[in-house]
Amino acid sequence: MSLNKSLEISPQLENIRCVSDEMISEIYKISNDSDLTFRIDIALTEAVTNAIKHGPADENSIIRIEYISQGEKHIFHVEDKGRGPENNIFKNPQPSEDRLLENKRGAIMIHWAADEIIQQVDKSGYKLTLIFKPH
């Protein structure tokens, strides 16, 4: 069974729940894999939160989330109109020596959860692709 879906949200933090409500429960239904679903939930929540917090905040700005099921692969694109984080942020991120510092926790969680991470930036904005496979 496959499922392709897309969702557009405005950049408000309460809209993160739309992603979990509309996508994550469907993915569990088709995969019946709680580990996979949890990893997708974590990485997608972090990616969308980053897009909301760091993308443009004007009222016309939209964050687009697209889901493509391709065999065993679950592919997500999260797009916003911003420039994205630094381009090597997901390359083996490590906690700060001072573990109480806030930085990089989201990147660490995405790196742990996703099997492949692709960042693209062009004139139209930033696109983060997350690919998951069953373990």
Binding site: T49, L100, I108
Partner: protein
């Protein structure tokens, strides 16, 4: 956000009655914990039994509370699901907090902290 608290003789127990702690509600939890600590409740036990999902904003909120109690108190956590525990481990926060399987062990540790 649904939260309950109980005052014990020497400590305060906060029960987070939410399935998810994420960027949508973490700031509410942060405000609540900050107020508790500012009112002098620096010896805190936080029950996470109901929480099946916590993101970096939720973890950041707990870290922020730990920083706020500083040398004047402590925070014990219990009730972490295996998945939530994994997130504490990959972010290396598992060693930063006092984490217990059972509430009774956490309360005992908080009481010992007071007796020190």
């Amino acid at each position: 956000m649904n939260i309950e608290f109980e005052r014990h003789d020497n400590s305060t127990v906060v029960r987070v009655l939410e399935d998810r702690v994420d960027a949508a509600n973490a700031s509410e939890l942060k405000t609540y914990l900050n107020e508790m600590i500012e009112q002098g409740n620096a010896i805190l036990g936080i029950d996470l039994n109901m929480v099946s999902f916590i993101d970096s904003s939720g973890l950041g909120t707990l870290v922020s509370a730990l920083k706020k109690v500083g040398q004047n108190g402590t925070i014990s956590l219990w009730g972490l699901t295996q998945q939530v525990k994994t997130l504490f481990q990959i972010t290396q926060l598992y060693e930063v907090f006092e984490i217990f399987e059972q509430e009774s062990d956490a309360i005992e540790a908080l009481n010992k902290y007071v007796a020190q």
